[in-house]
């Protein structure tokens, strides 16, 4: 390396950066110190997460096999799989399952499609793009619970702005009882969740799009490829990894996201918007920790199986690209 470099980087004693010189941490005599340093730096984080996250989670898991009711803590005997049986035997179990599936896929598909379109359109520079991004970013700052409240007010059957706008536009004649109507309530919570989740997709996809080298598009343009073809043969294959991971994370996250429904309908009317996690909150609030834990374990198991399958299905393709 030229001496110029060391002068510019004001390194009085050291010479130019020789490869390996800075990797003293990998020499054997440093191993103990290095191990201590790693342990010391990791310890606070590990202790907090172990005590306040993992311990309750593990303790919660064993509650699933016990009679654990807050109302009577004198009898916490082991009951085997009874709590699971209670979950499966509950008359609303079927409703809860299909609602959960509807909630996850009814949210994720529109979020992905609209988010993708938004990202494609935001890729090209235009004036005020930064401001635009800042404005559409804002739903993120709000908690799901509060979003539920905002939309609960807008979907109010008597004084809600949604009915008023639809009536003004001539789309409906009578006000719709959105949150009291079994069919409409799920649509209403889905609209709220789509409103909330599109930004995340847009931002993740935009970041991925910006990593695609311009040369690929230039080459495609030279070859006279149409825009649709460019989209399907260059853009989508290139960002497939990000797309797959984003979808995976979002499915898991939406599955575990009762906040919005909790604030908007509380699972009603008549459990028509009750999903697995809102049901779990309800059971916890009723003090039946055993049954709530059983439900929680089922959620974890489902998500783990799902994640493994999803990763296996997308892994091969990931190996090909990049």
């Amino acid at each position: 390396m030229p001496a110029k470099v060391s002068q510019r980087s004001s390194r009085p004693r050291g010479g130019p950066p020789v490869p390996g010189a800075g990797r003293g941490r990998q020499r054997p005599e440093f191993t103990t110190r290095r191990g201590l340093l790693i342990a010391a730096f990791m310890a606070p984080a590990a202790v907090f997460v172990a005590v306040f996250t993992y311990y309750p989670m593990v303790a919660g898991s064993q509650m699933a096999f016990r009679n654990w009711k807050l109302a009577d803590l004198t009898d916490t005997s082991w009951v085997g799989l009874k709590n699971f049986g209670d979950v499966f035997g509950d008359p609303i179990w079927g409703t809860v399952l299909s609602n959960s599936a509807l909630w996850v896929f009814g949210s994720i598909v529109p979020q992905l499609v609209i988010g993708f379109a938004l990202a494609l359109w935001l890729r090209r520079r235009f004036r005020f793009r930064g401001l635009y991004q800042a404005l559409v970013f804002f739903p993120w700052a709000i908690s799901g619970f509060l979003i539920g409240i905002l939309f609960r007010w807008m979907f109010n059957s008597e004084f809600g702005v949604v009915n008023d706008l639809l009536q003004k536009a001539g789309l409906i004649d009578e006000p719709i009882a959105w949150l009291a109507d079994p069919k409409m309530a799920m649509i209403a919570v889905l609209i709220a969740n789509i409103w909330y989740g599109v930004t995340f997709f847009a931002i993740m996809i935009l970041a991925a799009l910006q990593s695609i080298p311009d040369e690929l598009y230039e080459a495609a343009a030279l070859d006279g490829a149409s825009r649709t073809r460019t989209l399907f043969q260059i853009t989508i294959p290139y960002i497939r990894t990000t797309l797959a991971l984003t979808v995976l994370l979002r499915i898991i996250w939406i599955f575990n996201f009762p906040d919005l429904i909790f604030g908007m309908t509380g699972g009603g009317p008549n459990n028509e918007t009750q999903i697995v996690t809102t049901w779990m909150i309800k059971i916890t609030q009723q003090g039946d920790y055993g049954r709530a834990s059983a439900l929680g374990l089922l959620v974890v198991a489902t998500l783990l199986v799902f994640a493994v399958f999803f990763l296996l299905a997308t892994r091969e393709k990931r190996g090909v690209k990049r």
Partner: protein
């Protein structure tokens, strides 16, 4: 670069972007307008999209009748302390995860990921019992400790991304100059990472400020409640008082919005790098 846009294409594109902007901003506009109407006007027909006269009556009622001021103080205290401590702790773990290779590293990262996957409600019951044992139920310190643990995993992943963006050479140079590793970390790396650290703190703060289920479970008495717990109380009552509710909602949303707008670029960077690398 990406092909020439036709006039029609450009119109369609801006029409879509404009529509989405209106759709995104409208709920916020609507709750704000509602909160600024006189209490009687909220339920008046026809619905006013731009009220004739604005009134602060709902805000006055909110701070007058309920202990809303106390809730705000509690939320500020809990979110600030928890957010700051979690950021400090995560900085250490993120640094190690970004700079060293060691055997348990992937297991630790996996452990962080798992906390994001598992529904927190499975832990609610046992957590309540644990806090009872520690005599930290209905105690703001107890809530702070739990929030720190909640914030750490994601904050670590986010900060790790920021550390990885800084070349090794920077601290190696500092260490060759005779600084210890601690010295290099605190005097050379942290100043460079300041925007990322602020973004991480804001992210933590907003999450704690917004958190509902843990605070509802762990806090009982009125003097300890946080803002989301109070909002939940408004819902539970049979008839929602939309005047106070809208004022409270605006009051909760505004600070987080301003903070996010302030740090949005870095938060986006943290989220995208964190999620892509897993």
């Amino acid at each position: 670069m990406i092909g020439k846009a036709t006039a029609a294409g450009r119109t369609a594109r801006f029409a879509f972007l404009g529509l989405w902007l209106v759709f995104t901003v409208f709920p916020l506009y609507w709750i704000t307008i509602t909160s600024l109407k006189a209490p009687g006007d909220i339920f008046a027909f026809p619905i006013a999209y731009w009220p004739e006269h604005l009134s602060l009556e709902n805000y006055r009622a909110l701070f007058g009748k309920a202990d809303f001021g106390t809730y705000v103080t509690n939320s500020l205290l809990v979110a600030t302390v928890a957010g700051a401590v979690a950021t400090a702790i995560s900085m250490l773990s993120a640094y190690v995860l970004a700079r060293f290779e060691f055997r348990t590293k992937s297991a630790l990262l996996m452990a962080a990921l798992v906390t994001q996957m598992i529904p927190s409600f499975i832990a609610l019951g046992p957590l309540y019992l644990l806090m009872t044992d520690l005599q930290l139920v209905d105690n703001r310190l107890g809530l702070i400790l739990v929030y720190i643990a909640v914030c750490i995993p994601f904050c670590t992943v986010m900060l790790r991304g920021f550390f990885e963006n800084i070349p090794d050479a920077l601290e190696e140079a500092a260490m060759i100059d005779g600084l210890s590793r601690f010295g290099a970390l605190f005097r050379v790396l942290l100043p460079v990472m300041k925007p990322g650290i602020i973004a991480a703190f804001i992210f933590n703060f907003v999450n704690c400020w917004n958190e509902l289920f843990l605070s509802v479970t762990l806090l009982n008495s009125d003097s300890n409640k946080t803002v989301p717990t109070a909002l939940n109380g408004f819902i539970s009552s049979f008839n929602i008082d939309w005047g106070s509710m809208s004022a409270a909602a605006v009051f909760t949303i505004l600070p987080t919005m301003l903070l996010f707008a302030f740090a949005s670029r870095h938060i986006v960077q943290g989220l995208t790098s964190g999620a892509v690398k897993g």
